[in-house]
Subunit: 459 residues, 2 copies
């Protein structure tokens, strides 16, 4: 449906004239995320400033059956917030307050628009942090991370966003405001509504307040890079690290192409062969013991070079390089489209997945970069294609699909940490079978008129 004048006037009554926009620049700024998904303009952008305003907007939109799409950092990679059916974009930027740091309880209460890096910068003063570290940490917001159950490089040790969400304030599509969860560290009281909303990609309601559990900042941090002649040896090392309980905070894999892009962009001279990045968090003695343990495991598996970053500068340099791998790849191919992949497979299938992708690149004459959170079995791919070259672009999309199907074949999931959005909807039935009907029933229960972020998650 298209919004009419009275709709816009009503929204202005709720949030104030200055917080409603029909300007093309504003609509365009909320039409596309970082994915290859086709942009789509919303009808209107509003900037709500309170839970109550959002409740009023949802009540009205539900009554009029107008689509509502919450919008956070816009750094998602599957088209998650693209307003494919138009309607209202709820831009959450102005709900960006850190409401309460409960230092004694190691919790923080925030509004959804708080940016991840800003939150951790604030918490650093009291020696605490929120561990999940998405690659887009400088723009990703807590609301977006909750919606997508984001994780990142440190999930190996610390888990994902869902593991840290203790309470949520949520506006349901009918405008009702509920609170889920508890301030206690654990609870067995009733159904886990909190976990249901986390990762629901804005399809069940709008999160307006989040209580996160925090951890003390590690006393000591170390990093290491292990270089291998072959993927097989790198994979065997990952296997041993996981299987024998190496207490690393991150175990990251980069293939030779990704290292090349990283070297070019960051003026580094890392060897361009299969490489693992490690990070350790703990006490100094504990970390030292783990680094020694890593040394043993690397030697056992034919590592040709293990470098332990001794200084904070070197460590930061390496991790910046890893974090910005995607950006480096992008810079190497100006003007080209980049299709991001994000599958997660059982650990035993990780190296097979990398091999499959490399084989596919050769077979389909495509440049495919692979890297990812090897310790979790979470593989990212970046396929480069020229949108103007229809054949190449079609092959790139086909390769993306084949990688997802392969992940399912080996017992994995279609989405490790980027969510389903628009791009992966077609695989939901294949992954979930009859469970998809249960998900649909849940969607219908919470959002019978289907106003919340329509066109996402479900095929």
């Amino acid at each position: 449906m298209t919004l009419i004048e009275t709709d816009v006037a009503t929204l202005a009554t709720i949030v104030g004239e200055e917080n409603v926009s029909l300007r093309h620049t504003d609509l365009e700024a909320h039409s596309a995320d970082e994915s290859h998904v086709e942009p789509h303009l919303p009808d209107v952008v509003v900037w709500p400033q309170s839970t109550e305003q959002i409740a009023a907007i949802l009540r009205y939109a539900n009554d009029r059956e107008i689509p509502v799409v919450p919008w956070s950092g816009g750094s998602s990679l599957e088209g998650n917030p693209v307003p494919v059916m138009g309607g209202i974009v709820l831009a959450m930027y102005r709900l960006n307050k850190i409401l309460q740091v409960r230092e004694e309880d190691m919790q923080v209460v925030v509004q959804p628009g708080v940016v991840y890096d800003a939150l951790n910068a604030h918490l650093r003063r009291v020696g605490l942090f929120f561990p999940p570290a998405p690659g887009s940490s400088d723009v990703a917001t807590i609301g977006g991370m909750v919606a997508n159950n984001s994780s990142g490089m440190r999930a190996f040790k610390y888990g994902v966003t869902r593991d840290y969400v203790r309470r949520l304030k949520v506006v349901l599509p009918n405008g009702q405001i509920i609170e889920t969860g508890t301030r206690a560290k654990k609870s067995t009281s009733g159904y886990d509504l909190t976990s249901l909303f986390v990762g629901s990609e804005g399809t069940l309601g709008v999160v307006t307040e989040v209580t996160l559990r925090l951890l003390p900042l590690p006393e000591h941090v170390a990093a290491a890079i292990a270089v291998f002649d072959s993927l097989h040896e790198a994979a065997a090392t990952v296997h041993d690290c996981v299987r024998y309980g190496l207490d690393a905070s991150a175990i990251e894999f980069l293939d030779e192409h990704t290292l090349h892009a990283t070297n070019v962009q960051h003026n580094l001279s890392l060897r361009e062969t299969p490489t693992l990045f490690f990070e350790f968090h703990g006490s100094e003695a504990g970390v030292e013991a783990q680094v020694e343990y890593l040394r043993e495991l690397c030697e056992d598996n034919g590592c040709i070079d293990l470098q332990v970053a001794s200084s904070a500068e070197v460590r930061e340099e390496l991790w910046t390089a890893r974090r910005e791998a995607r950006e480096a790849i992008k810079q190497c191919h100006p003007g080209k489209a980049m299709i991001s992949g994000d599958v997660c497979v059982p650990i035993s299938a990780f190296s097979g997945m990398v091999e499959y992708v490399h084989g596919l690149a050769e077979e389909m004459a495509l440049r495919i970069y692979t890297f990812g959170h090897a310790g979790d079995g979470n593989l990212h791919t970046e396929i480069i294609a020229d949108r103007a070259d229809r054949g190449e672009f079609a092959r790139a999309l086909e390769a993306t699909d084949r990688i997802v199907l392969r992940a399912l074949e080996v017992g994995g999931t279609i989405a490790g940490e980027h969510g389903v959005g628009v791009a992966k909807r077609t695989f939901m039935e294949r992954e979930h079978g009859p469970s998809l009907e249960v998900m649909r029933a849940l969607k219908a229960l919470f959002d019978p008129k289907g106003i919340m972020n329509p066109g996402k998650m479900f095929p």
Copy 2:
């Protein structure tokens, strides 16, 4: 409703005559758990042997609107599986196979009747374990743990059952079989149905297969006991351990009464003042560093004695004493009723809760033992009362209620790890407010006829 002859005959057709019983001894054996909740006989006990049989039973029961109550170890403490409305008890004992150990992926697939200790004994051979350690580990089954989202002493480091469940096979009340989750370590594909079923206390369906994530057994284990003159000092130590990131696997609290019962039953001579038990898992160097760190924190807070258990025997002796604290208390009061409490509060409120309970004991002339998982803010109470002494028993129930209400007042939850069952239903509205209506709607969605474990969780 009461079952009629044809109902029993139909059940016999599904599972075989020998797996259906109307014998009083069988009914009685499935009428009460370990709580103070009044026993109630089911109409019939059946021992299904496959998912398909359970699907057939549920289809039939749903059609006839007969209550169905899954029954596992029977060690629950809130009346969780007591068949308060009669009907069919599904005794899950014969679904007790470890179906697959996926060593490479560090996962195990089990049937729900597998006992926790038996599973870990089996996994020990390959150096893996399932961390949540309930007090009743020798009888608690994986199915029961999933239904109640059980945890225990090691939740401080390792979290709760929900954190380890990767996949579930579930029979819905209408007999439909679904599978949730993935074999990958993490996923952002669709709604988290797995977390919804975990902790649902058998009210949404019957879990018939569970895939658990496992961890490598720790290389080194150590234990320590810290004794204090006052609760205040013990609590300050817990606070510092949590706040400054002591990497302990368990931080347990026992009050003077509990220590007395423990000494009597185990022929120990532990000092009978507020005491903390610690356990450490890690590399030898890492554990040593943490024990030294604990020593510092204890000294800072006026600990009068810190003993580190050097040998495995002493360690095991201490932890057996802690694990069996409840049993020791019971033995000290033969013939008396024991009402178990299980609240969980924000860490900052833990010592205040203990003080409140001690004050209540004095005010109401009751013997109340307190102990619990201090590192999680999870406090257990055991109130001793003579059922024959109506006044005392009524005071004991009142005290139990007041402890729960106090936990809510300080921002905690009514149930840390024992679930809601029958005993805590009346507090659900007060804890969850409007969210309770959402939970009711979910219950109605999955189980419109209300056949699954009726009379539980909801007031």
